[in-house]
């Protein structure tokens, strides 16, 4: 769990004042977040790890420029997103990815998968490794602008304001993109889920409340 805001402020002040070893403690709660936000952009574990290390080093070197008007986590994610984008551009993957960027917020109708014999995912299916693998692939398939928002909101569980701030977009756009991202995932995964989840006739109870 992230340290309290007060504790973070104190740590940051002390690190800037010279107690640099405390930086390890400061970033520990965010190791996972930084790595995963980059991984979902780069889709390469090796490079994501290297990039995550760079992000943390950059954060250390530029800690003085952290103003404290945003949360430290948001600041860190912003650096991570920039690092990820930069590497994408370098890898020329951006050339391919920009096709998706072009679609931006075209008012497409993203409708969920509607299957008449659809059944919700039973808990056994959720426990399956293949299911998680399938979800990872589905997330990677999303166009980057949607993937970014989904990763920050639903994987890292940042709030709307933090996500907007980290991506440099407004809250309305965060909401629109998140909705589309979720609907795309639902659509991608629906046929597969149907296959792994044998239909339970008449079973429609909610699993998670």
């Amino acid at each position: 769990m992230p340290a309290t805001v007060e504790r973070e402020k104190e740590l940051i002040a002390r690190i800037i004042a010279g107690e640099t070893d405390l930086f390890h403690e400061l970033i520990r709660p965010y190791e996972r977040m930084v790595y995963l936000s980059i991984l979902t952009m780069l889709r390469n574990t090796q490079e994501a790890e290297d990039a995550a290390q760079e992000v943390m080093i950059n954060a250390f070197r530029h800690l003085k420029s952290f103003r404290g008007d945003a949360k430290f986590s948001t600041w860190l994610v912003t650096i991570a997103m920039n690092e990820g984008r930069q590497r994408l551009r370098k890898a020329k993957a951006a050339q391919f990815e920009s096709l998706d960027e072009g679609k931006e917020d075209r008012q497409g109708d993203f409708t969920p998968a509607v299957l008449t014999d659809w059944r919700e995912i039973p808990s056994e299916a959720l426990e399956k490794k293949e299911m998680r693998q399938k979800l990872r692939e589905a997330v990677e398939q999303l166009p980057p602008i949607y993937r970014e928002v989904l990763v920050l909101r639903d994987l890292e569980e940042l709030n709307q304001e933090e996500t907007a701030s980290a991506l440099g977009i407004n809250i309305t756009l965060v909401k629109v993109r998140l909705h589309r991202a979720r609907m795309m995932l639902q659509k991608i995964l629906a046929p597969y889920l149907r296959a792994v989840a044998p239909a339970k006739k008449g079973f429609f109870g909610r699993m998670f409340q």
Binding site: T20, E49, M56, I57, P112, V114, E120, L189, R206
Partner: protein, 87 residues
């Protein structure tokens, strides 16, 4: 007012994030009670989100943290050298 399925789908995200106005929320819940298709879409989306947030779905590489802190340590030591540019 009766909602069509399509109207419900448009608000699934807000529904899951509990951001709906009370009136619309009530209309949607009423629709969900009577519509298996929309209920299933809602449940599947919710389940996908539960799975997305599950730490086992996106895992860290073994040794990631150790390598990260080792490299950081090096960077921190280097920054402490006398001829760094932070004078």
């Amino acid at each position: 007012m009766t909602l069509e399925c399509k109207n419900v789908w448009e608000h699934i995200s807000e529904y899951l994030d509990q951001q709906l106005e009370p009136k619309l929320l009530a209309d949607i819940e009423k629709h969900l009670e009577n519509c298996e298709v929309c209920s299933a879409i809602l449940d599947s989306t919710r389940n996908i989100l539960v799975l997305t947030a599950d730490n086992r779905t996106f895992e860290l590489p073994v040794g990631y943290s150790e390598r990260l802190h080792a490299r950081l340590e090096k960077a921190i030591r280097e920054s402490a050298k006398p001829n760094n540019d932070s004078a």
